[in-house]
């Protein structure tokens, strides 16, 4: 099993390296959808990593899928790959078939509520979801909604049907859309009762879980760059890695990285069904602690472009959707107090 995981991750690494270069990333920053990269990931079956074999997916263990998401962030994949992996896992777990193409998740803000009114031939959605990643570029959005009685549903929404009221980029230049679902009608095929694991907090823990993995992947890339740079950059006649002040900053960063990695691979917490376990945490120290503890000079002007980009990619993750910065610790705090 470990050998198998290593092979999968090695192949994914090779794929990312092969298809991602500075040009792709610059174009993605400018708002261009990297279709050829998506095609390569799709051909390799990565978006279906967590879908069971029987439904045409990769059937990867959730720990391997978590590592895959880390590696995608390590390589700064400028696509909603993690969202698509998670969306397909949840939708097929709820009884649906795999969704073709890129899929995003909504809502991502814990304050946003999408409501569902069931009708004779399907259902109608109401409400707005803010800061939805790749809300227009993804072909579908997997939307979590509740009806008036509080019952939870997952809805497969073609993004061609949605109304984007505001588009912007986050600091990593990833697209974020505000989506107005008011009056959007769906056929009954596009609506499914949500698994019980979604009942309490909807998509938030799952979104936070993928963000944590992405942050760790980004942190690892930054650490790699920073260590290499510290050994290469010469000042005052010697590599800056020989200066104690620099060593200590990097040692502190290594400590945070190790702690974040340990936190993100804790025991199974969310269980959807007998076949689907997500062994990653939604509450990592990195979620609670934005990456300002990374080597500060990593983001200064002398750092290479790649390093600046990786650092930039981590920054929004700490505060982005799925309630990462305050929401997760808040929930943890309340549970602690309630206990």
């Amino acid at each position: 099993m470990e050998d198998m995981s290593a092979i999968v991750l090695e192949q994914a690494d090779r794929l990312f390296q092969q298809h991602i270069d500075k040009q792709i990333l610059l174009e993605a920053d400018a708002g261009h959808w990297p279709g050829s990269l998506w095609g390569a990931l799709d051909d390799a079956g990565l978006p279906l990593a967590l879908v069971p074999d029987a439904k045409g997916g990769g059937g990867l263990a959730s720990s391997v899928a978590a590592s895959l998401i880390r590696r995608s962030a390590f390589h700064s994949v400028p696509l909603p790959l993690a969202e698509t992996i998670m969306a397909n896992a949840l939708w097929t777990d709820a009884g649906g078939e795999v969704i073709k193409g890129a899929v995003t998740l909504a809502p991502v803000n814990p304050l946003d509520r999408i409501t569902l009114v069931a009708g004779a031939r399907g259902a109608t959605l109401h409400g707005t979801a803010r800061h939805v990643p790749w809300g227009k570029q993804a072909l579908h959005a997997l939307v979590f909604a509740r009806d008036a009685s509080g019952k939870a549903f997952l809805c497969r929404v073609p993004t061609a049907k949605i109304n984007s009221t505001k588009a912007r980029r986050n600091v990593a230049c990833e697209p974020r859309e505000d989506i107005d679902f008011d009056g959007l009608h769906l056929s009954s095929n596009d609506v499914s009762p949500a698994s019980s694991c979604l009942a309490a907090e909807g998509l938030m823990p799952f979104g936070a879980a993928i963000r944590v993995q992405q942050m760790i992947g980004g942190m690892e890339r930054c650490m790699d760059y920073a260590l290499a740079y510290a050994n290469e950059r010469v000042q005052f006649g010697r590599p800056i890695s020989k200066f104690q002040a620099v060593q200590h900053m990097l040692a502190i960063a290594a400590g945070h990285f190790a702690a974040a990695s340990a936190a993100a691979t804790r025991s199974p917490r969310y269980r959807c069904s007998a076949t689907m376990r997500l062994p990653w945490r939604s509450q990592s120290p990195v979620a609670a602690r934005p990456p300002d503890r990374l080597p500060p000079y990593a983001i200064r002007c002398t750092a290479p472009w790649d390093l600046r980009r990786s650092t930039r990619c981590i920054m929004p993750l700490a505060g982005c959707g799925h309630g990462a910065t305050n929401g997760a610790p808040n929930r943890g705090g309340r549970k602690k107090l309630a206990g």
Binding site: E220, M223, D224, L227, A230, N231, S241, K242, Q244, V246, Q247, H248, L250, A251, I252, A254, G255, H256, F257, A258, A259, A260, S261, A262, A263, T265, R266, S267, Q283, S284, P285, A287, A288, R289, N326, A328, P329, N330, R331, G332, G333, R334, K335, K336, L337, A338
Partner: protein, 382 residues
């Protein structure tokens, strides 16, 4: 990148059984009001408690039975340590002996030292102090100038140690001394000795700490004789021995649970209806705590497999003691109250106790600067 891995550890059923056992013991202690958890911790010196803990089998747990031990696993010992810490148990009398001095003697001491000392530690009757820092060499241990000279059947020690916790009330110190002059290799020529604190030629002078308490001491050695069989290892092995001893010292749950009782008092005080800020900050502290626990237990697992995770231990101590220092700073902002050792309020008293001791958390057992140097070395920066 050199990655530090802290693999997930599932505690075996016997560790869970041990947890239930130690909880029963600690509940009985508290039910009978034998200590006050809000103002005690693993550094609180209470020989009566240590004797009761020993009687219940919680000291020298991993050691062979022939030396008074219980032949339990490192994981069972880990569970006992974290339960003691969570309960604020006053284990300071036996803590050093149980955590590092005893294991050091068991691993590298003479047979006579093992037979003479280990059963007494395991019965809660014999306590140890650490003789590493000197007036002119604290973090730079290799600069130790206290020396031991060869005499018939033993050695004679001359010099001074400082910041020696509980030297005035422990039975032995493990002392790092120079047995050869400093040469090109600064780490060569050092040796470790077990020194009886009642020996002739020892003078102990108190140093009061920030809270006005007497834990620290200066210890002066003047022609203090130590027999051959009280050397730990061989002459000149001192550096290897002392770094090994520090690995015992650095990765345990005592490196992030020194002030855990303050967090408990805060949670009790806040109650079931926290405001938004309290919920966020308590949740954040709980997450950090859970992570450190995971890292520390992972090291206990490595020790159980016979590993020597020296750098990982340094990393846990650096992150763990930073967490300990952060606790009172966050707590007092969440629930402002003037801290006082005299207050009847347990939160106020606990906060005062922690505020006055927190500065030492990051210093004892190796400063952050030393630990970060070790981590940097393993990252390939030195």
């Amino acid at each position: 990148m050199r990655a530090f891995r802290f693999e997930s550890l599932t505690l075996p059923p016997e560790a869970d059984a041990m947890r239930r056992k130690v909880r029963v013991f600690l509940e009985d202690e508290r039910a009978n009001r034998r200590y006050a958890a809000h103002r005690t911790s693993w550094s609180t010196f209470d020989p009566e408690f240590s004797r009761r803990a020993a009687k219940a089998g919680f000291i020298g747990m991993t050691w062979p039975r022939q030396y008074g031990g219980g032949e339990y696993s490192n994981l069972e010992r880990f569970v006992v340590a974290e339960e003691m810490l969570a309960a604020g148990a006053p284990g300071g009398a036996h803590w050093i002996a149980d955590r590092q001095s005893g294991p050091q003697i068991l691993k590298h001491g003479s047979e006579r030292a093992k037979e003479l000392i280990l059963p007494r530690i395991a019965s809660g009757e014999c306590y140890f102090g650490i003789g590493m820092s000197e007036p002119d060499s604290g973090s730079d241990l290799a600069a130790a100038r206290t020396r031991a000279d060869r005499v018939e059947d033993g050695w004679v020690i001359n010099g001074a140690k400082i910041w020696t916790s509980n030297a005035h009330r422990v039975h032995y110190l493990i002392v790092l001394v120079r047995t050869e002059p400093t040469g090109q290799d600064r780490h060569a020529g050092l040796s470790q000795f077990i020194v009886d604190t009642t020996s002739k030629g020892i003078e102990i002078r108190p140093i009061m700490n920030l809270s006005g308490g007497h834990e620290f001491n200066e210890v002066f050695f003047k022609d203090c004789f130590v027999p051959d069989d009280m050397m730990i290892g061989k002459p000149g092995e001192g550096w290897t021995r002392v770094t090994g001893e520090l690995a015992f010292e650095r990765a345990g749950p005592d490196r992030f649970m020194s002030d855990i009782r303050l967090l408990v008092e805060l949670i009790n005080k806040v109650g079931h209806e926290p405001n938004e800020r309290q919920a966020v900050e308590i949740g954040r502290l709980a997450v950090h705590f859970a992570t450190l626990r995971r890292m520390s237990s992972s090291i206990a697992g490595l020790l159980e497999q016979g590993g020597s995770p020296v750098t990982e231990a340094a990393l846990v101590k650096d992150v763990g003691t930073a967490f300990e220092r952060e606790v009172p700073e966050i707590v007092r902002k969440l629930l402002p109250m003037e801290a006082s050792l005299d207050d009847e309020d347990e939160y106020s008293q606990g906060l005062a106790h922690v505020l006055l001791h927190a500065p030492s958390f990051t210093i004892r057992g190796g400063t952050p600067e030393i630990l970060r140097g070790m981590i940097a070395r393993s990252l390939g920066l030195r």
